[in-house]
Symmetry: C2
Amino acid sequence: MDDSRLREIPFHKETIYEGSILHVEKWQVTCPNGHSAPREIVVHKGAAAVVPVYEDGTTLLVRQHRVSVDRVTLEIPAGKLDRADEDPLDCAVRELEEETGLTAERMTLLTSVLTTPGFCTEKIAIYLAQGLSQGSTHPDEDEFLDLVRMPLDEAVDRIMRGDIRDGKTICGLLMAREVLSRQRAQA
Amino acid sequence: MDDSRLREIPFHKETIYEGSILHVEKWQVTCPNGHSAPREIVVHKGAAAVVPVYEDGTTLLVRQHRVSVDRVTLEIPAGKLDRADEDPLDCAVRELEEETGLTAERMTLLTSVLTTPGFCTEKIAIYLAQGLSQGSTHPDEDEFLDLVRMPLDEAVDRIMRGDIRDGKTICGLLMAREVLSRQRAQA
């Protein structure tokens, strides 16, 4: 398809705020109709997340407080890339091990989700982790979290009840279940 | 469960950037161990999105360019709330009508997704729209988009192939399919 009718082309980028995590830019773009328009963009270096699934069909979620929304959330293990060019798989392996103590024999990329592309560059690569072995956890010093193990089907029920609301977690759990059910259908 | 072991409590908030769309704040929080720490937060007034599903099992997606990720994306119809206290259902009805020309007899809340709660307050309420009637579209002047109708099952296949990557869209389509399959199982 011809996308030139849709495409916005940036011709100027200016840094508005350079924080320790957030980097905010103002872009000027040329719209398909030739007009120019401003776009405020949060530049994020990206992240990786993991849906660990045990042989018995359970998964392991992280219970933590998110001050942005003042809620305790249930989320799949995840963390930011160290650098924008870090391989997300390396990040996923590290975060899984740090937050849960798990190592995996098999890591399968489920997707790389665009969390909120209207104003943010963030992509989160989400992996399905299988063939799990337990080691010890060592979370970051300023991370406070609980681990909650539950059947994947129960996690899906919690999504449908509105009890699990984190975007990457909904995507990861529902896609993991779809992959596993397609694998079973083929077996 | 006792969440005080997890909870971060903000004691200071400072505006860093006040843009036309983005509002960025720096919060100082007290961590569960008593230490204080900074949190950079994008304050967003929220949005609403809609998964329209026709009687024949097809859905309608919006094809548009997202300059933040320089990609043409397939997304469910969506838009920002007019005000932080707008009822997301009113916003969903308006955006569905503006972007697709559709009105719906039934709107069912699927969830309110936290798009990226690590640094952003954004919530997107996602509705399943059924009993659809077609009117004319009238998108915003600076919105350039195509409409693509396809079976919901094909949209799910596109998610699994990594062709649909927008977070709210993955959540909305997979949750809509789950609701419809549970409805069929009960019928």
